[in-house]
Every structure is written in C-alpha cells, then in structure tokens.
C-alpha cells in the first residue's frame, strides 16, 4: 500500500517537474489538454456548485440519496449497452427488452390474492426463479442480436431495430394475455417490492433502497469482466480492429455474440428492478430507455469509434444525466430546456472524445 503511494507521489512530482521544464507554449497546451480530457468532471463540478448556490437543498442528504438511487436505476442498462458501443455498434432494442422483462417479472410476481392477476391460478413464484427467467429472456434477445450481427455482418443498428419492433410486439401480445386486456400490471407481491426498493439501510431518516446495492454489485462485476477477463480484452480487440483481432486468434463471432448476450442479461436485470421500482408495468415501460443509456455511455467516453471505454466513464455519464435532471427540477427550470441541455452535453462530450481520438492518430 505505502509503496504504491510513494510511486504515485514520485509520479506526480515527476510530472510537475517535467511540466516546469516545459516551454511556455507546451505548458499552455498541456493545461488545455488536461482541461479538455477531464471536461466532464469539470462540467459536473461546476453544475453541482451552481445548483447548490441557487438551491442549497441540492446537496442535502436526501437529495444525494435520490440522485444516487436514480443513477442506480439507470445504470445496469447503460452497462449493457456500453459493450455494444465498444464494438462500434449500438443496441436500440434495449428499452423494449427492459419493458418485456419488466412485464414478465411483474406478471409472475403479483400478489396471490390480487383480484386482477394475469395468471389467476399461479402462486407467487420464487424471486430467484423469476430473476433467472427474465435474465434468460434478456439473454435470448441478446443472442439473436449478437448472432445476426456476427454471422451476417449486419450493422447492429439494423439488427436491433428489428428486434426492438419484434420485442415490442411481444410486449403487446403478452399484455393481452388472459383477462388482462392490455391493462397495466400492478398489485406486486411485497416480497418482490421489498427485495428491490425496500430500505437497504437508513441514515438520518433517509432510507437507501436496495437496488442501489445491486447496481454497485453489477458495476463491479462488469468492471471485472471488462478489465480482468480474456473475454473483456477480446471485446476491446474486436472493437478497435476486427480484422486484426481475427488474425491474432480472437474468436470474433463468439465475442460479438457474448457482448450482446451480456447486454441482454443487463436489460433483463434492469427490467426486473424497474418492474418493482415503478410498480406498474405497461407497454410503455422501458420506452426510449436506450437513448438515455447510449447518451450516458458517450458522455462517459465510450466511443463509437470502437475499442475504447471505461466502466467508470459509464457511471459518470449516467450520474451526470441524473444530476442535470434533478438539478433542473430543483431550479424549476422550464422543462423544455432539459432537451436542449442534454443535446448540447452529448454533442460537446462526443466532440471532446473525437478530439482525443484525432490527437492520438
């Protein structure tokens, strides 16, 4: 531990020393580069300070917990989509996939005595079984996406556009099941809602919902997969240069399929959480979730150029979007401004990202 600290210090002081030794022009360029490379952190920091000055309540415990839990709710889907973007692809079936899995989870976990059950004769199923089932459904959609992308070299946009429509059709059909007639699914069993949004712990009267913990666990798992496994390294290799990866012995087909399957698993889990978090699932559930998730990824530096991206970046991206959403609400800003601000941030983030990429070239 101390050794690392020493080496870090040396590194820092070495950097400062080399910075001092630079010419003026170089110094200025270094400063500008550093500012640009950390632009997202700087923007978040400025935004927080600005909002807090106007509305001190923004940094109250209550509000911080709210921002964290909103971030946690939107994180898993972004973690899933991130992989597809690393492969220079995208996945626009994500939102509908969340919708389908949320509806499946909700329908199987309605209270036993609830009068409007989709499956009246069904007891409340065990949570783990339903979770596995929705993960399997998500994985199946992911497999279809990955298979068509890898096998037929179709652009992921086209493939996932198709599956988006197919999955939406399945949601609509599923909701017409039994006597449900397309109604919103509700009346969830308390074992389910407690498992997802029950309090994890309480600090100063503010309870932190359990899904925050699950989101952290998923983030750690995804970090491990991306950084510490052969599959993760293959994913980046395929993303930066498919041909080169193929030549150097990476199984490109299975890498692509597995990235999409992993994404599908994340959507399944998101659906499972979203079902209980919102507590009423309709065919609208999950609509357009992918656009926020993709936005979060690119804001966080997962580049459409392929082969670059970090889990920490995705977390920052999701967090920034939630800070904007909550912050503008605190400031009572006209809600139409939200679109404009979001759009500008995505544009700026991508421009900065490409600047790094072009500089490297």
């Amino acid at each position: 531990m101390s050794e690392i600290n020493v080496s870090q210090k040396n590194n820092l002081s070495g950097r400062i020393a080399s910075f001092r030794a630079m010419e003026r022009a170089d110094k200025r360029r270094t400063i500008i580069d550093t500012l640009f490379n950390n632009a997202m952190y700087i923007i978040i920091f400025i935004a927080i300070i600005f909002i807090t000055i106007r509305e001190p309540g923004f940094l109250s415990l209550n509000s911080i917990v709210n921002i964290i839990s909103l971030t946690a709710a939107k994180l898993p889907i972004a973690l899933g989509i991130g992989g597809a973007i690393v492969l220079t692809g995208t996945d626009i079936s994500a939102g509908r996939c969340v919708g389908l899995t949320a509806c499946i989870a909700a329908s199987l976990l309605q209270m036993a005595n609830y009068p409007n059950k989709m499956f009246p004769d069904l007891d409340v199923m065990p949570l783990w079984l339903v979770l596995l089932l929705v993960i399997a459904v998500g994985a199946a959609v992911g497999f279809v996406n990955g298979f068509f992308v890898a096998k037929f070299k179709l652009h992921p946009f086209i493939v996932t556009l198709s599956t988006q429509l197919i999955v939406y059709g399945m949601v609509l059909l599923y909701l017409m099941n039994g006597t449900n007639n397309g109604q919103t699914l509700s009346g969830l069993d308390s074992s389910y809602t407690d498992f997802v949004r029950g309090p994890l712990f309480t600090i100063g009267n503010v309870s932190v919902p359990k899904f925050v913990l699950y989101a952290i666990i998923l983030t750690v798992i995804m970090w491990f997969i991306w950084n510490k496994t052969k599959f993760g390294k293959n994913m980046f290799a395929v993303g930066s240069n498919e041909e080169a990866a193929n030549v150097s012995g990476v199984n490109v087909f299975w890498t692509i399929v597995l990235v999409f399957v992993l994404a599908g698993i994340m959507y399944g889990i998101t659906g499972f959480f979203e079902g209980a978090r919102i507590s009423s699932c309709s065919s609208n559930t999950g609509l357009n979730y992918e656009s926020d998730a993709i936005a979060a990824c690119v804001i966080g530096g997962v580049s459409f150029v392929g082969g670059t991206g970090k889990i920490s970046g995705i977390v920052i991206g999701v967090l920034l979007l939630q800070i904007i959403f909550v912050g503008l609400n605190f400031l009572s800003v006209d809600q139409n401004m939200l679109y404009i601000i979001k759009g500008l941030i995505i544009l700026v983030a991508c421009a900065i990202d490409m600047r790094k990429y072009l500089a490297r070239k």
Binding site: Q183, N205, I278
Partner: protein
Amino acid sequence: MKKLAAIILSIVLICSLAACGGGDSAGEISVFYYTFSDPYISTVRAAMDAILDESGRNYNNYDANGNQTTQTEQVQTALAKNSSLLIVNVVDTGSNDAAQNIVDLAKEKNVPVIFFNRSVDESVVKSYDKCAFVGTDYEMAGHMQGEMIGEFLVANYDQYDLNKDGKISYVMFKGQEGNQEAIARTQYAVEDCNTILKEAGKPELSFYDSANSNRYLVDQAGQWSAAAATDYMSTILAQYSSANNNMVELVIANNDDMALGAISALQTAGYNNGEGTTIIPVFGVDATTAAQDKIKEGNMAGTIKQDADGMASSITTIAFNYLDEKDTFDGIESDNIVGDWRVNIPYSTYTGN
C-alpha cells in the same frame, strides 16, 4: 441457391400475411387505434374485439403507434381494399386537419366513419352525413376529478394539511404537452377543486414549488408514463418531506399510471404504505384495475372511471346501424346523444365505496 432461398422466404411471408388477413378482406370493418400501448384504449379494444367476433363480421385492427402519418396511410390502404366502414381513434387532436382528411378520403368512397375517444371537432363530423363521434366530454374528467378532490379535502381538511399552515400544497403530473385532454384535466382539476375549497372558506391549493410558473410537471416523452411520475416524485421527496415540515400534501395525476408511479416513489420514501404510515392523497383518471386495487388498499384516494365496455358497445351499435342501413343512433341511450352528431359516454367517480 440464394435465389431459391429468397423465393421460399417470400412465399412463406406472403402465406403468413394471407393467414393474418383472414382470407377475404373485402368489406371489412377497419378499426384504427392511435396506439396499442394505451391501457385504457386496450380495454376498449378487447371489448370491441369481443363484440365484433361474436357478430361474425369481418374486421381488422390497425395500430398507428402514435403517428398520424402512419394512421392516414393505413386509412388509405384500408379504403383501397374496399373497407366497408372506418372506426377511427384519431392520433392528432391538436388540429382538425388530420380528422378532416380522413373524412374526405372516406366521403370519396362513400364509406361511413365513426370517430371515438380522442376528440374530433363538430365541424369535421358534420361535414359528412355518414360520420359520428363516440367519446367522452373530455373536459368532464378534469371537472369531476376537481370536484372529487375538493369534496375529499373539505371533509377532513385538517387531517390533510400536514404542516398546519392552513394551505394544501400539491403537485400535478401532466401526461403530455399539447394534448386537449391533458390540458383540460390539468386545468380543471385544480380550478374546480379551488371553487369548492373557496365555498367552504378554505384557501386555494398552492403548488408545492412556487418558482414553477407552469404549475405542473409533464412527462417529457408525452407517454403519460408511470416511470416519469416516479422519477419526479422521488426528486420532489428529496426536497420536501414531513421531517422538513414542507411535505407535498396532495398528488393529482392526469391518469392512473402516473398516479401509480407517484405512489411507488411515495412508498419507497415510507409514505402511503397502509395503516401506520402517512397517506398522501393521490388522484388519477381512468379507474384501471391496478388503480382500483390501490384505492381499495387505502393507498390511493380516488379516480375517474371511463366506461370502456359502454364505449365499445356504443361504437359497434352505430357501426352495425350504418352497415344495416338503420338510423345512426338506433339503440343508443338517448340521454347520451348530444346534438345529432355525437354520443357521450358518461364518466363516474371511483373512490372504492
């Protein structure tokens, strides 16, 4: 080989299309829905499908998926294949053009048109003698919601005024910008409630956030969705709570989905969770089964019921009248007929009693 595969694939596609079409499509009753994803409209659809199935007549449902262009093209296609009658849940209610366009198309082919649910102007309906409208007086839902809230608050005013400042602070969740029904509900729910409060000598409702000049929070995606209400409500609860003595004391939503979304956030924060917890009155519109259940549990205060079965049976009655060349409104309850062009399906309040 590839060509053969392509030919086989197209044959399969054509066959499956034919199977979906149910053979002879000439003379079908064409039913156009603005979106299949609306829970209330889905209930109407299920009821109407049942009646049409039973009648043995040939019909076909179309989903515009919230897009007027799609719907207009669907109407054109249906007319091109000799549809005998159009039942239209028009997408665009902001102007008369979309509905007028459909009427003109139908008139050319002398095919009757029945609009339903989403409002269409009198001038449009009256421009064609084989046209009628079945709907609700869309402003009524807002008026009735407002009255229900007013009476509810006046009955136990002090109980709901949590911080005892004499005023009830509220939040309003609007489903969509630019939608007539959403606008009317947002406006009248508050106005009518205030009228009743004033009569009882109480001050008007006050929006929880005085800096918000709109005095509502809207679903940015225009989907009237539960998720939007949950996200807003949890953000509100981060700033306003019983502990801070500034809790939002009333939640009004344009529809039940948004009401349920708000309740989910309230429950996460420890409110509206049955006996022993602080219950914030939440009001919606639609009386979906999910909302009725929440009301029976006591975690939601009330909703306005739209009669889906009544709407479906009125539409099909008029449709069969047109096809069998009877009087347009033959067999419709005369109280519900307005003028000679529309049928209003009455709303009712639902508070679980």
